[in-house]
Amino acid sequence: MKVLCGIGGSDDSFRALDRTVDRAAIAGDDLTVVVVDNEDADPTVEEVVTRVENAVSEAGVDAEVRRVEGDPGSRLVELAETEGFDEIVLGGGHTSPMGKITLGSIAEFVLLNAKTSVTLVR
């Protein structure tokens, strides 16, 4: 499967990264990991890229790592369409101290606008 994983640097996005890389190693997915802007995230873009590259090489997966600037949600949807991806994978939301799950703004946009299937990793 041709999989596009969007990572903005939030905790849930790293969880999605680990799970997607693990799956790709087993299933042989054609994986592209895209590091997008997320102003709500703490780590810098450089830190996120490093972490993504490490995760990919540790899993021994032949994945492409790309940096994409601009509005993260619309750029992901556009990439998935123009490059024929089967699926977009994203973090499944932030959990408040109360235990309530809130989806990130990128996930909300992608869910409503993508033509492909979308997987949110919990």
């Binding site: 709500d40 959990t95 408040s96 101290p97 109360m98 235990g99 309530k100 799950i101 809130t102 989806l103 703004s105 909300e108």
Partner: protein
């Protein structure tokens, strides 16, 4: 997220529990702050274990007794404030304030057997009265935007919408006059 906004004005005074009233079904309901006893814990577990999954909001309450206990452990901690609505020795509803950075997140649950009887209004006012008594400053919550009954209850209490851009509405209340 520290960019939450709150009303400029401080909310009205709410009555501090304990208090009691007769609900619209003629049942006597008592509102009491949580005291940390095993009896209260077990009664809460019992309510949440039979809670209608259709009334779940954003993943809470969780399902299954062990996950319910784990969740209750976290929100019944010493740094949280909890108020329970009792009908005899059965829990009809439960409301909680959980600290999050410089404010408290609010959630309220009324068991399906006790809904549409006016208990939620007394329960949230009791929780906020308890919060004022212990000096809680700012309170926020999220609510699914289709849940009109809840949204109108929160508005009536004095909550103002602070973020309407996501799937859930975020609302805030200034409970006491804390600094800033």
């Amino acid at each position: 997220m520290t960019d939450r906004t709150y009303p400029d004005a401080v909310a009205d005074d709410f009555p501090a529990p304990p208090s009691s009233f007769t609900d619209r079904e003629g049942r006597t309901i008592e509102i009491r702050p949580y005291e940390g006893t095993d009896e209260e814990d077990e009664a809460l577990v019992e309510m949440y274990d039979s809670f209608d999954p259709a009334d779940r909001a954003q993943g809470i309450p969780p399902s299954g007794e062990s996950r319910i206990r784990e969740w209750l452990d976290a929100i019944l901690g010493d740094d949280c404030y909890n108020v329970i609505a009792w009908c005899d020795d059965e829990v009809a509803g439960h409301a909680t304030l959980v600290p999050d950075e410089d404010a408290y997140e609010l959630a309220i649950f009324v068991h399906q057997t006790y809904q549409r009887a006016g208990i939620g209004t007394y329960l949230i006012r009791g929780l906020l009265g308890h919060g004022q008594a212990v000096g809680v400053g700012k309170v926020w919550l999220t609510v699914e935007r289709w849940n009109r009954a809840a949204v109108s209850l929160y508005k009536k209490i004095g909550f103002e919408t602070s973020n309407a851009e996501s799937f859930e509405l975020e609302m805030g209340l200034r409970l006491t006059d804390d600094a800033e």
